[in-house]
Amino acid sequence: MKKISLAVAAVATMVSSSVVSAYADPVDDKLVIDGQEMITRAPAPEGHPFKEVLSGWLFREPETRELEADSFQNSGMLYVERGQEIWNTVEGSKGKSCASCHNDAAESMKGISAHYPKWDADAKRPINIELQIDKCRTQNMGAEAYKFDAPEQKALTTFIKYQSLGAPVKLDLKQGEMQSWWDRGKKEYYTRTGQLNLACASCHEASMGKHIRADHLSQGQANGFPTYRLKQADMVSLHNRLRGCIRDTRAEMPKPFSDELMALEVYVTWRGTGLSVETPAVRQ
């Protein structure tokens, strides 16, 4: 926190004539889920613009934070349950379920999501959990790929990521051409889009900690996805969120799973290195 928030705080003092000071620091609070403490602050990896990476949880209102901390109240847990049912359901021409090959997800899927996106040598591009699910469905089950944001896709992705709850995010940029995708994602992150001429960094780096309308701007971390959004009363996938942020600059939205969004996912995920996977996180 220290350095960045000091700089932001200095700006805030300069404009302290304001009505209600809408500036608010990320809270000093601990996130414990089912007895396990989440890493919500981590030292930033080398080459990161911040000293410390912060979970979006620290920027949310107390009630929202509370919902995520309590599995019984977290509506995202319903999607975890739904995902488990899908995991065990036979589908496709080969008469298999995910469980036919991967057995108990609590063991076979434990921790793996913390390392996604991952290089896919067959596709020669990074893939995320959604694309890995499609790969197994088409190649190993004789089933069709899911449509983007199909309820089953969101539930199964949530279920698989939940098996990594608490595990620190760590990408392997040495695999395949991951590094060049990271480079591309970084370029995108600092490129202004749309009529409003804003880059990801305009909001999540330059304005982190400030309010845009009612929204307390976080670092825009990906570690909680899919997240349960109270506003939508539904799970929101990462590519849905990224598209929404881009749309808000009054730009055309890239297609889900396009090279553009996969590169951005690699880079944005890296910016959250060391944070716990928080799926299903709760956001406003």
Partner: protein, 153 residues
């Protein structure tokens, strides 16, 4: 003012309006000198009341997304990405305010987060229906500037 006076004033304003339309300065022709735009973009005096509406409207200026303004206490959720605009007219002249609203990058530099409201120097992949269009019209900028000029402490 009596009725005749009002009528004369109204028709003068209407005439003025049509003349000014022809003289409207295109976004690419706006002249920035010393962090100011001295010439009106339309030749028609800005209307502060209209300007206040444009300022608050989320689909137009949406200035409150990033700025607090004590003069609009009924507007909830005022942001603070930029400085509070209380007393902004004590800090900047109308010509400077016109420059800031038209294209803030010409005043604060290329890194500023504030969008240009009468500029075609925008980001990539602009939404198709907005290509070649500015966020605000020239007259809306004049109206907003007239409104900002009322914000004195």
């Amino acid at each position: 003012m009596n009725l005749a006076g009002i009528l004369v004033a109204a028709s003068a304003a209407a005439m003025c309006g049509s003349v000014a339309f022809a003289a409207e300065i295109a976004p690419t022709d706006v002249k920035f000198e010393d962090y100011a735009v001295n010439a009106s973009l339309t030749g028609v005096a800005g209307n502060a009341e209209e300007g206040a509406k444009v300022f608050a409207d989320r689909k137009l200026g949406n200035c409150l997304a990033c700025h607090e303004n004590k003069a609009m206490p009924k507007q909830l959720f005022q942001g603070n990405v930029g400085p509070s605009l209380d007393g902004v007219a004590d800090r900047w002249s109308p010509a400077q305010l016109r420059a800031i609203v038209s294209d803030s990058k010409k005043v604060f530099g290329p890194e500023t987060v504030m969008p240009g409201f009468y500029s075609l120097e925008v980001g990539i992949n602009v939404r198709k229906d907005l290509v070649g269009k500015t966020v605000l019209s020239a007259q809306q900028v004049e109206d907003v500037v007239a409104y900002l000029a009322t914000l004195k402490e």
